[in-house]
Amino acid sequence: MTLKEAEIIIEALIFAAERPISCKDIGDLLELKQSTVEALIEKIRERHGEGALMIRSVAGGYQFVTKPELAPWIEKMGRPVISAPLTLASTETLAIIAYEQPVTKAQIEEIRGVRSDSALNNLLERGLICELGRKDGPGRPILYGVTEKFLLHFGLRSLDELPPISIRSAK
């Protein structure tokens, strides 16, 4: 196998790998030194210099992706556009998370009195909430909080700016 052949094979491996493939894995497969593999990947990068693709180094491996400046076109092409507003269940859940965060699913469900899985998933998908880590204690449940996107949407600088709640005043 010549170096040129190795370069082409590496290009194919990076393209076809199901997850980012590491320098070591490539080296093992082709019986090449990692430094050689790295040099060859540089060559592939150069070859793609003017094209749409680039090799990204991510998660301990290499991966072909489109260059970032092309993202708007790809978005325009494929992603399904969802224009449905939040459901009542999701809005309730969002309200609780905004005020109670960090908060677990169980706590949310206790307040709402119903299961809230799909509401949580929907909010996660929309990027309005995120996982903040795990609570110490049995089962180590996930803690949820709102995202910057949430703050941006409501024009809040921080959560301190949420309207104060006084239960007494509620009818």
Binding site: P20, E75, R79, P85, L94, I96, R115, K149, A170
Partner: protein, 246 residues
């Protein structure tokens, strides 16, 4: 004729007949029915000897062959006519069916070759990249205001502070009841996610629902699909025949 019965499983009676025709180097337009019928029956017999089940289709074909053979054996009153009016040949219908089947069998071979050629082309490995599957929400929350959000939270808190229910009815759900419920939920649906079946269920109801789903799989009423590990489980009714009957 010294023909050795091929012991491979045939796809069906057409497959068997075509094989006999090829083996005997017969012109498909002029099948010696008596001979072929004989070999066909011998094959079925060999299955029987080996205690193998003979599909009903094979028996139907045997009857057809015998019928054609009988027709051919009937004395022809006007021998001259047989040559000119070919469509009266009792074999004709069978030949048409055989040719039609043979065509699709050839296509199947063509497809298999195409598959073998196309497996050498690998597409992009990382297909479920976030970029490609994340939906775009043009309407992130709707027109809800911050104050409405706050109001909603307050009401939930008030609601939650009300005294808890004094008594709760312990309900025991039987698998049979749940079976009926799942059937109702699936009615008219092409596919329902397992999660949907479980919505608002208590822990014991989830267990019973799971058992009911297993039972329905056993009964052959549904099939359960999961495209990737930990992925969404889809429950699909198999036979929509029930709908027709009902």
């Amino acid at each position: 004729m010294g023909y050795v019965v091929q012991l491979d499983a045939y796809e069906g009676p057409f497959d068997l007949l075509l094989d006999l025709i090829v083996k005997n180097e017969i012109d498909i337009w002029d099948i010696p029915i008596a001979d072929i019928t004989q070999q066909y029956l011998e094959y079925l017999h060999s299955l029987q000897v080996r205690d193998l089940a003979i599909g009903g289709e094979f028996l139907v074909m045997a009857a057809t062959l015998l019928r054609i053979k009988a027709k051919l054996l009937l004395p022809q009153e006007q021998i001259g006519l047989e040559e000119s009016e070919e469509e009266e040949d009792p074999r004709e219908e069978l030949v048409e069916l055989l040719l039609r089947y043979r065509f699709f069998k050839e296509v199947a071979v063509f497809l298999r070759d195409r598959y073998q050629a196309s497996v050498y082309y690998y597409d992009r490995g990382n297909r479920t990249e976030e970029l490609d599957v994340t939906p775009v929400y043009t309407n992130l929350v709707g027109d809800i205001t911050l104050n409405e959000l706050a109001g909603m939270y307050r009401e939930l808190l008030v609601e939650a502070q009300r005294e808890p229910p004094i008594h709760s009815v312990v309900q025991r759900v039987s698998v049979q009841e749940r079976l009926a419920l799942v059937r109702i939920q699936l009615m008219g649906q092409s596919s329902v996610s397992f999660g949907q079946l479980l919505q608002n269920n208590t822990a014991s109801e989830i267990v019973v629902t799971f058992l009911a789903v297993l039972e329905l799989v056993r009964l052959g009423e549904i099939r359960v699909l999961q495209e990737k590990p930990f992925g969404n489980i889809q429950v699909r009714p198999y036979a929509l025949e029930m709908e027709v009957m009902g």
